[in-house]
C-alpha cells in the first residue's frame, strides 16, 4: 500500500480506468497512466514528449472539456470525451479522457462510417438523445447526454441502473416485447430498434426510440452494444392524435355518409378519402379525374362540368346534387357535393354526402303529403256528398210522403243516415281508406236495421250467402241505401211485427267484376197486380234510381211467394279514389 501522498496519487493515477495524460504548457505529454498507454496503443515511454497533436486531431488551445479524435492504429479511430484539470500554477494540465465514452470508434470499425465532425454532445443535446454503451458481459450501461433533463435521474443514478434497472424502467406493457427485440437483435446480429415507454425518475412515462448496434469479438460473442435512446414522446403523441383524428374522420364519414376528395388539376389525379371511395365504389387504385367523372349518371355530366368550370374560372360556389351509379355494385346513389378551388395549389377540394336515404325520406314525405291532401279533398267531397244525399232524402220525403207522420219520416231518415254512417265506420276500421268488405257491411247493416225496428229476435231468421270481396265506398253507400229500403220494406210489409220469416241475401262477384245481389223474404209479398215500375213510393224509387242511374245496373223483381229482387252491376262504375 502506498503510504505517502505522492504514492497515493501515483497508484490512483495508474489504476484509473480513465486515460490520463499530463501535459505541459506547450501541450507536450509529460506523463500518462496505464489506461492512456493502452488506449493509445503505445508505450508510456514512446508517448512521453510527444505533442498532443501527434496523438489526436487536437489543434490550438484545449478547452475545459470536449471531444478528441484519437488515432490508435492504422484503422482505428476513437472519438472520446475529455475534461481537463489545471495542475497548480505550473502551467501543466491533466487531460482526462473518458475511455468508455468511445462510441464512434467502434461504430467506425463495424460499419465503416467515418465521422468528419465531433459535436456528438451538441447533437445529443439538440436531438434529445442519450447515447449508451452497454457492456453485455457485465450488464453495465454507460449513458451520455442530458440524462437528467430527459429522465429526471442524475447521471450517477442513471449509469448505475445497468441492464436490469433499464428493464425495470420499461413500461410493463412494453417490457417483454422490448427485451425480446433486444435479445433477438443481439442473437441475430441485426440492428436493434425498439419503441417503448420509459419511466422517468418521477414515475411518469415517455416514449423513446431506442436503437443500437452490437459489437462482437472475433469469435462472434457479443461484447457491447452502442446505441442511442431518443425522446419521441411528442412525436408519438402527435402520431397518436393524428391516428385518432383520422379514425374520427373515417368514423364520421361512415356515420354521416360523407367523403372528401381533391382534383389535382395539374396531374389530373384524384385523391379520394375512404368515405368518398366507399360512396363512389372506388377501389384502392389511383384514379384519374376522367375516370371518376364517369361515375355520375350521364344526364348530370353537362351540369357538373359547368359547375366545375364556373368554380375554377369565376369562383362561383360549387354546390350540386346529382345521382351516381356506384362503380362496385351499380347502385344508384343520390349525392350532394360542395367544393372550393385552391388556385395556389391548383386543386379542387370537395366534400360529398350520400343523401340517398334523405332523398327517399323527402320523397316519402312529399308522397305522404300528397296523399293527405288527396285524402282531405276526398273527405271534404264525401262529407259534402253525404250532406247532399241526406238533404235530398229529406226533400224527397217532403214531396212524396205528405201524409206520413213526422216521427215516421224521421225514423226512416235516421235509418238511411245510419246506413251511410256504417260505411264510414267500416272504412275507419279497415286498413284501406277506400275499400270495405261489402258482404261484411251488408250483414252488419241488416242487423242494425233489425235493431232499429226492435226486431232483432228469433222471429226474423237471416240466411246470408255472401262472398268476401272489397268494394269502394262509392259502391258500398248506394248498396247500403238499397239494402235499407229492402229490409225496411220487409219489416213493414213482408214480415210485419208479430210475424216470423226469413230474409235471404246472396252476394257474389264474377271474375269480370259483375256484382250480383239477390234479396228475398218469405213474407206476404206485394199485393196482387203490383207494378214495380210504376209504384211511386220513395222506397222503390230509391231502389230503382240508385240501381239503374247511379250504379248503371239491372234490376229484376221476382214473382212467387214473398218478395224477391235481383240486382246486378259492374264494380268498375267508380274508380278507387284514394
Amino acid at each position: 500500500m502506498p503510504d505517502s501522498g505522492q504514492d497515493t496519487y501515483k497508484a490512483f493515477f495508474d489504476a484509473s480506468s480513465e486515460a490520463v495524460l499530463v501535459l505541459n504548457s506547450g501541450m507536450f505529454c509529460i506523463d500518462l497512466n496505464f489506461a492512456a498507454s493502452e488506449l493509445l496503443g503505445k508505450s508510456r515511454e514512446a508517448l512521453i514528449g510527444s505533442p498532443l497533436q501527434n496523438i489526436s486531431d487536437f489543434q490550438g488551445d484545449i478547452a475545459d472539456d470536449g471531444f478528441l479524435r484519437l488515432k490508435t492504429g492504422k484503422k482505428n479511430e476513437h472519438v472520446l470525451s475529455y475534461r481537463t484539470i489545471p495542475v497548480s500554477s505550473s502551467g501543466m494540465t491533466m487531460l482526462i479522457i473518458e475511455t468508455k465514452s468511445d462510441i464512434r470508434g467502434h461504430v467506425t470499425v463495424n460499419h465503416g462510417n467515418v465521422y468528419r465532425n465531433d459535436p456528438i454532445r451538441i447533437v445529443l443535446d439538440l436531438t434529445g438523445q442519450l447515447m449508451y454503451d452497454y457492456d453485455i458481459k457485465t450488464g453495465l450501461i454507460q449513458w451520455t447526454g442530458k440524462i437528467e433533463d430527459m429522465t429526471g435521474f442524475s447521471t450517477e443514478e442513471f449509469n448505475s441502473l445497468g441492464i436490469s434497472g433499464w428493464e425495470d424502467c420499461i413500461h410493463p406493457d412494453d417490457r417483454s416485447r422490448t427485451i425480446a427485440q433486444l435479445n433477438t437483435s443481439i442473437e441475430q446480429k441485426t440492428v436493434y430498434i425498439s419503441q417503448y415507454r420509459f419511466r422517468r425518475h418521477d414515475g411518469s412515462y415517455f416514449f423513446v426510440d431506442d436503437r443500437g448496434t452490437t459489437i462482437y469479438d472475433a469469435d462472434g460473442n457479443p461484447l457491447r452494444m452502442i446505441g442511442s435512446m431518443q425522446d419521441i414522446h411528442d412525436r408519438k403523441k402527435a402520431e397518436a392524435e393524428l391516428v385518432m383524428s383520422e379514425a374520427r374522420l373515417r368514423r364520421a364519414e361512415l356515420i354521416g355518409g360523407t367523403g372528401n376528395w381533391e382534383f389535382d388539376m395539374v396531374s389530373k389525379k384524384v385523391f379520394a378519402s375512404e368515405g368518398a371511395r366507399r360512396i363512389y365504389g372506388l377501389g384502392e387504385k389511383e384514379w384519374s379525374i376522367a375516370e371518376v367523372q364517369k361515375t355520375p349518371l350521364p344526364e348530370y355530366r353537362q351540369m357538373l362540368d359547368e359547375a366545375l368550370r364556373s368554380l375554377i374560372d369565376e369562383s362561383r360556389p360549387y354546390d350540386v346534387e346529382f345521382k351516381i351509379k356506384r362503380q362496385t355494385d351499380g347502385a344508384i346513389i343520390d349525392i350532394h357535393s360542395c367544393a372550393e378551388y385552391d388556385p395556389g395549389r391548383n386543386i379542387v377540394f370537395g366534400v360529398i354526402h350520400d343523401i340517398t336515404s334523405s332523398k327517399k325520406n323527402e320523397e316519402n314525405l312529399k308522397s305522404s303529403l300528397r296523399e293527405k291532401e288527396i285524402l282531405l279533398r276526398e273527405l271534404y267531397h264525401r262529407t259534402k256528398n253525404n250532406m247532399q244525399v241526406i238533404a235530398s232524402i229529406l226533400n224527397l220525403n217532403a214531396i212524396l210522403s205528405p201524409g206520413y207522420e213526422v216521427s215516421q219520416i224521421v225514423r226512416d231518415t235516421v235509418q238511411r243516415i245510419n246506413a251511410i254512417a256504417l260505411v264510414h265506420q267500416k272504412l275507419y276500421q279497415s286498413q284501406d281508406l277506400s275499400n270495405i268488405l261489402l258482404g261484411d257491411y251488408i250483414s252488419d247493416l241488416v242487423r242494425l236495421i233489425l235493431e232499429g225496428f226492435n226486431r232483432n229476435d228469433d222471429k226474423i231468421r237471416l240466411d246470408f250467402n255472401m262472398h268476401v270481396f272489397p268494394s269502394v265506398i262509392d259502391i258500398a253507400i248506394p248498396c247500403g241505401l238499397i239494402m235499407n229500403e229492402l229490409v225496411t220494406n220487409t219489416l213493414k210489409h213482408g214480415i210485419p211485427e208479430g210475424k216470423s220469416g226469413t230474409i235471404s241475401i246472396e252476394l257474389s262477384r264474377s271474375d269480370d267484376g259483375r256484382i250480383r245481389l239477390k234479396y228475398s223474404d218469405d213474407g206476404n209479398g206485394p199485393p196482387d197486380g203490383f207494378n214495380y215500375q210504376q209504384d211511386g213510393s220513395l222506397g222503390l224509387m230509391t231502389i230503382r234510381s240508385i240501381c239503374e242511374h247511379q250504379l248503371s245496373g239491372d234490376i229484376r223483381f221476382g214473382s212467387g211467394k214473398g218478395f224477391r229482387v235481383s240486382i246486378e252491376f259492374n264494380d268498375n262504375v267508380y274508380a278507387k279514389r284514394v
Binding site: H549, Y574, A575
Partner: protein
Amino acid sequence: MEKQIKLMLVEDEAMTALYIKMMLEKRGYLVSIFSTGEKAVDSAKAEPPDLIIMDIHLAGEIDGIEAARRIIEDAYIPVIFATGYQEKTYVDSDKSIKPLAYVTKPIDINKIISIITDYFKKKCN
C-alpha cells in the same frame, strides 16, 4: 204550343238527381239525368240540351269539367256547375268553359230554378 225546355242533369248521386229532376219537372222542364260524363257527352252530341246542370265529381273516367268542355266544343250550351268552393277555382282554370253559374252543395234548388228561369227569360228577350 210552347217548346218544352230540355235540361240535362249530370249527377252521379241518385237521390240528389232524383230530387232535382222532380223539382225541375214540377216547373215544366224536361229533365234527363246522367251519372257519367261519357254518357252525358254522347247524349248532348246527339241531342243538345238547352242547359246543363253539371256535377264535377262523377262516376266514370271523365269529370264534369272535361264533359262540359267536350260538349261545348261543338256549340255553346250554358252550364251550371254544382261545386264546392275549391272546385270553383278548378273550373275557372279552364278558360274555354265559361260557366253560366256555380251552385254549391248541398244544392239550393230554388237558386237553380232562379238561375234557369232568369237565363231563359233573358234569352227570350
